[in-house]
């Protein structure tokens, strides 16, 4: 296992390098640079700005300098937020986005898994239909539509919650719910399907034949096995949530990285984009690793060499 992790981390470094290189090339291929605006800057101003941010160097030098900086923990300076280092911008945004993402993930699983299990145990009952309907309906509404509907209802009409922003528990409720709706629905569906599948397995019949308590059968034999596919899907889901959603962060005015990253792309803020990609790729890779480890923890058939 230890060697497996080391190999994965080494591989991750290579992937990161390639991803950064491709991002770098792509960004410079794409039309429009950081200083292109409708109200054009004077050529001498652009020249001075390029000099200031090291964009006057040949591209390969820029990349080498950047990569060298990354190795030293320096992700450069943002162009669209003057003088702020990308590290400080990310350090500012990631905790918020990650908090939101982790909470949404926990809420999604806390809603989705029990619903899925209940639906499967009572297949074709009212509980089952209700959970299927609930999960499909929430999976069918775009996040921003759900978000504005919630804002109108809870903030404008009922005055129960603040519309937006960051800082209090109340401000977290609506964005967390909006983010959690789709994953909760997905989680419920997957849990239901896998629980139904496990319930049909021979070893469940074996367990029942031993005469042990039904609750033991459900927890020890059904639930644990039905969790395996849920974990597989939960990894990418968590990664997706932690890396942030532009739409939800923008709609609820949350100072997270999801919004920053998309704004950075539109602003051609190269260093911020690279920093965002780095964060994204590392998160995805690490969470995949965590999922693989968890996977092995749940399912003893899986061993990594």
């Amino acid at each position: 296992m230890g060697r497996f992790i080391i190999r994965r981390v080494l591989w991750l470094i290579l992937v990161l390098f390639v991803v950064l290189l491709i991002t770098f090339i792509l960004m410079h291929l794409v039309p429009g640079g950081p200083w292109d605006r409708e109200k054009a800057l004077a050529p001498k101003v652009i020249e001075a700005l390029n000099k200031r941010y090291g964009l006057d160097l040949p591209l390969w030098r820029q990349f080498v300098n950047y990569a060298w900086g990354v190795l030293h923990g320096d992700l450069g300076i943002s162009y669209s937020y003057s003088d702020r280092t990308v590290v400080s911008i990310l350090a500012h945004g990631i905790p918020k986005t990650a908090t939101l993402g982790i909470l949404a993930f926990v809420v999604a699983q806390a809603i989705g898994i029990p619903f899925g299990v209940a639906a499967a145990l009572k297949q074709n009952s009212a509980v089952d239909y209700a959970s299927v309907l609930f999960s499909t309906v929430f999976a069918s509404i775009p996040g921003f539509v759900l978000g504005i509907l919630l804002i109108v209802l809870f903030a404008v009409v009922l005055h129960w919650l603040p519309t937006s922003g960051w800082g209090s528990i109340q401000q977290l409720i609506m964005p967390v719910f909006c983010l959690a709706a789709l994953p909760a629905a997905q989680s419920a569906r997957i849990t239901r399907a896998s629980t139904l599948d496990v319930m049909r397995q021979d070893y469940v019949r074996t367990a029942r034949s031993k005469g042990i308590m039904e609750s033991t059968v459900r927890v020890r034999h059904i639930f644990r096995n039905s969790l395996i596919p849920v974990v597989t899907v939960a990894g990418p889901e968590l990664a997706n949530l932690i890396t942030g959603s532009f739409i939800i962060e923008n709609l609820f005015a949350i100072p997270g990285v999801g919004r920053l990253f998309v704004q950075g792309i539109f602003a051609r803020d190269y260093t911020l984009i690279m920093g965002g990609v780095l964060f994204y790729a590392i998160t995805i890779a690490l969470l995949n690793l965590v999922v693989d480890i968890l996977y092995a923890a749940i399912d003893p058939r899986i061993r990594y060499e």
Partner: protein, 330 residues
């Protein structure tokens, strides 16, 4: 002395989208203490379902025991509460399933799966349960049980898994073990070992055994009495040797012809039974085997035969043998 188990006219039906499948349609048999009986038939004839019915493990809500009685020590299992039934399963009656590949939980250690029943029925601690499991593994012939007890099913070979299944079944020293095709998926040499193991253990523990198999060839060696099932019904039963040597039902004869016989020189080719078992949703009016029977009479397609004693202690549901003829006998 009353038999240990009496199955009386049991009917187990399955509700499917195509209609009601009469998987077991009025089956009766009995098992005495310490006795081994065999339930023989093709796949899909209802033998597994009838065995599951005893434990009330037929998959609900699709499957349901419609009527009948299952007397175990004189108590009707079908009338027990769920809690009482839990105390029966594993403790008094246990079962060995046919698929050792899928019948063990892949994410629990073998030891845990053995000790589970002990913890519940004998109030053992996990520690004691694991110790007992080690002992049981040793008993069923698994080398290094103290190490193997902490391993997972995927680390066991097919034969070893089935030994583990046997260990689970005997853990609480039940009075009755149902072995549902325990040897189908393992190769021949291991089959014989496993059957010997089961026989020895049941003998040692004085446990009754219902051996479910499609292989009539092995029955004579292990079982005292044989019940042959076809299309949800018992079509013949009697002392194992009688049935083996003098089958009174063309189906039994067909089954015998389809397996190699150890006691006879191999002169004939093995002959599979032609055709398919009947549709259990809408069974034919007369004898269920009529369509596949080479010897059928006009009566066979009209009236359903009932079990009648052909020779003492040997019953068959066949119009032909009930007329005193056995054209399948060479």
């Amino acid at each position: 002395m009353a038999p240990l188990l009496e199955v009386k006219n049991i009917r187990t039906y399955f509700h499917t989208q195509d209609g009601v499948v009469k998987a077991v349609d009025g089956v009766s048999y009995d098992v005495n203490r310490g006795e081994t009986i065999a339930l023989v038939g093709e796949s899909g004839c209802g033998k597994t379902v009838s065995a599951l019915s005893i434990l009330r493990l037929v998959a609900e809500p699709a499957g349901k025991i419609i009527s009948g009685e299952i007397l175990f020590n004189g108590v009707d299992l079908l009338k027990l509460s769920d809690a009482e039934m839990h105390k029966m399963r594993g403790a008094r009656i246990s079962i060995i399933f046919q698929e050792p590949q899928t019948s063990l939980n892949p994410v629990l250690t073998i030891g845990r799966q053995i000790s589970e029943g002990l913890e519940f029925h004998k109030n053992m601690s996990l520690h004691d349960g694991m110790l007992e499991a080690t002992r049981l593994l040793k008993l069923v012939g698994i080398p290094h049980p103290e190490r193997r007890v902490y391993e997972y099913p995927h680390q066991f070979s097919g034969g070893m898994r089935q030994r583990a299944m046997i260990a689970i079944a005997i853990a609480c020293q039940p009075q009755l073990i149902i072995a549902d095709e325990p040897t189908t998926v393992v190769d021949v040499t291991i089959q014989a070992q496993l059957l010997e193991l089961i026989r020895n253990i049941t003998k040692e523990l004085d446990t009754a055994l219902i051996l479910i198999t499609h292989n009539l060839g092995i029955v004579a060696r292990y079982a005292k009495r044989v019940f042959v099932m076809y299309a949800g019904n018992i079509v013949e039963y009697g002392q194992a040797l009688d049935v083996y040597h003098q089958p009174c039902h063309p189906y039994t004869a067909g089954l015998l012809a389809s397996v190699p016989r150890l006691d006879e020189p191999r002169k004939n080719r093995l002959q599979p039974i032609e055709g398919q078992p009947p549709d259990l949703i809408a069974p034919p009016a007369g004898c269920a085997f009529q369509a596949r029977c080479t010897y059928s009479l006009p009566q066979c397609s009209k009236e359903k035969p009932v079990l009648m004693q052909i020779t003492p202690g040997h019953f068959a549901a066949c119009w032909i043998s009930q007329r005193g003829t056995k054209p399948w006998q060479k």
